[in-house]
Symmetry: C2
Subunit: 398 residues, 2 copies
């Protein structure tokens, strides 16, 4: 039996050198030599290729160390643009971003994801065209498109798989839809993965294990494990909405949208709250209505919100026991009823999980609010486009 | 906001070069140049240092490519030895291993972990001394000691933390106990982490996401995520024995060893099976007795075993929903009642988890049986001792 070789021994190629620039404001040739251990001639060769493709550009001069000042170089973030669309059940956000994945301009509109991929992707694309046009950019300058959706995605193929709430999307070829319209890669991911990355990179860059729970119409989770988005073997990781829970006051286990009974979201998802509030005679139609009613302090609504907190907390406690994160971030519409929801969540987590797992645990509300998906998706896309193994081809294309 | 730099750009130092040898039978200087991108002079310098420390040795000559045959070099697996002890609740296995982490000789004996760290570690050490003596090795040749225990471990400090079944072990300094006896690093880990690595490296080297469930006296899990042992933020990951489950036929939620009620292992751990069999009038004392009775086909015992399978299956289904592994391996004493237990486990996993997560999932019994912890611990220790960042110091010590 052999032990596996370390990937650290790979020679620093074009992609690795570009990574250095992506992670820093600027570098000199000497910096690159020092960081990579490459010879001066190899560094010059790599840098010439990146300068030739305009992925790196001169950025002025560095500090002198006696002789003439060293030239500095920087990642050319405006060499092109990225387009991203964060698709929810009832709304969509789109953005134009620079090549570092920073949002330059964004749009928001309502949609119904159940209208199916044709209408929804058309709506996204018409916003993309507007964003490009306003920025004076054209489709040829788009380096990559990122789409996230509220359902399971086979990350390698970019296909949505058996989505419970996205009728017409099963196995739909989203990258194929864009292929005739743009000549660039298309990344498709679950919304919760993008949300997790958005929160982690922005507010918890040193946290290596984070659980991002989206408590909206449904309940799901994205995870950062070992500092990276964790998707599991098939892209199905983080499916906490369909963990089965015990609810003592429930006379009958409610039927879930997935076809099972007793799932977390069948009790505590936004859709279940609306169902229960209506059954209690309240005039609510949407999850936003339910949230608004809870925030008025209506006794029935608050009681249901606390119960939802305990049930979501049960699933989070299981997740904490299993993956032992440092931070749990709660997002989605229900996170706006913070007080009532969080009490229940914290109660269950501290009651159920090992002291070792909770002693340094933070349970917090999203700070990017409903922009976490958009922000994270742009970063995910930038990382994907400039993954070291792809840079060779980008440079060859020029 | 910046993106993180790739670790790939690190120059290949001594540690990275040694890694190459650890992962392969043998290499020439030209192989090392090609794999690392380092210059001939740097490769010669690194190799001379490793040859000087006798961590690499000549292994004969390679194939000629026209000129004189190239010298081949190999990792010096017999330069020293490793000692490992896999400590269970009632038994212990110890082994002497080479520096690749392959077991050369092993011992087994009964212990009671609740006797506390002094007696148990003394028992381990007396086996270590026997193993060394029989192999004609002395304590000065020991490069590292690995200990695994059936409880939570703070991996960085090597301390056992709040172990439910290991009285007297809380915060005990296991590395400190060995420090006066051996001049080498001591690694302490949870048994399930070692078991997971043992199974994965031996039988599923290409699987990147694996869940290893130990169903013995208690119930726990180790995980391989992204190809590596996953421990979580505090070393508490994999604690599936204390996930709370719904059991319809239970009149009262049983009290668990952890102080909570309704935990998986309070229904389905070996200790709970013994409790329930005794309550049903069966004469069993140990988990092995319970397993033996189930294997005779006793109707009450088989019924309890199937129920235990469904309950453990519930926790595994939650874990599959959350981490989406490719393979679930079941070990521990209860895995020996394979037929009755596995039916229940599979039933729950396929009923509860997303089709996307189960379409390629394998649920299998351990193949290393009760040696998985020992085998994995030795590999974990070898990886730790020769982690690239530690090799510099090893070489300096000579």
């Amino acid at each position: 039996m052999s032990t596996s070789a370390s990937p650290l021994t790979a020679a620093a190629g074009l992609g690795e050198v570009l990574q250095l620039f992506r992670g820093r404001p600027s570098l000199t040739r000497a910096d690159v030599m020092q960081l990579t251990g490459l010879s001066r001639s190899t560094v010059n060769q790599r840098l010439d290729a990146l300068l030739g493709a305009a992925l790196v550009v001169p950025s002025g001069e560095g500090s002198s160390t006696g002789g003439r000042p060293a030239s500095r170089f920087t990642f050319h973030r405006d060499r092109g643009v990225l387009l991203v669309a964060d698709i929810g059940a009832t709304g969509m956000r789109t953005a134009l971003c620079d090549l570092r994945g920073e949002v330059l301009a964004e749009r928001e509109r309502t949609i119904d994801v159940a209208d199916g991929p044709g209408p929804v992707l058309s709506a996204a694309d018409s916003q993309f065209r507007e964003l490009l046009s306003e920025a004076g950019r054209d489709a040829g300058e788009v380096f990559g498109i990122g789409i996230d959706v509220p359902g399971p995605v086979d990350f390698d193929s970019g296909q949505v798989v058996s989505p419970p709430i996205m009728s017409g999307w099963d196995r739909y070829d989203i990258p194929g839809w864009f292929a005739g319209r743009y000549a660039c890669p298309v990344l498709v991911d679950k919304d919760v993965n993008a949300m997790a990355l958005g929160e982690q990179r922005t507010f918890y860059p040193d946290v290596r294990q984070m659980l991002m729970v989206k408590a909206g119409t449904g309940v799901g989770a994205g995870m950062i494990l070992g500092g990276e988005v964790y998707r599991g073997a098939d892209g199905a990781a983080g499916d906490i909405g369909h963990i089965q829970v015990t609810v003592e006051d429930a006379e009958v286990e409610p039927v879930c949208r997935c076809g099972n009974t007793g799932c977390v979201e069948a009790y505590a998802g936004g859709w279940a709250l609306v169902r229960d509030l209506r059954a209690a005679g309240k005039e609510v139609t949407t999850v936003d209505d339910a949230v608004a009613l809870i925030r008025t302090g209506d006794v029935t609504a608050v009681r249901l919100a606390r119960r939802a907190g305990r049930i979501i907390g049960h699933a989070i406690a299981d997740s904490v026991s299993l993956v032992n994160p440092r931070v749990v971030v709660i997002g989605g519409q229900l996170a706006r009823i913070e007080e009532q929801l969080f009490a229940g969540i914290r109660e269950m987590v501290y009651r159920r999980s090992l002291p070792l797992a909770t002693r340094s645990l933070q349970i917090v509300a999203t700070r990017l609010d409903n922009r976490s998906g958009l922000v994270g998706l742009a970063l995910l896309l930038a990382d994907g486009i400039f993954a070291p193994e792809r840079v060779e081809a980008l440079v060859a294309r020029g």
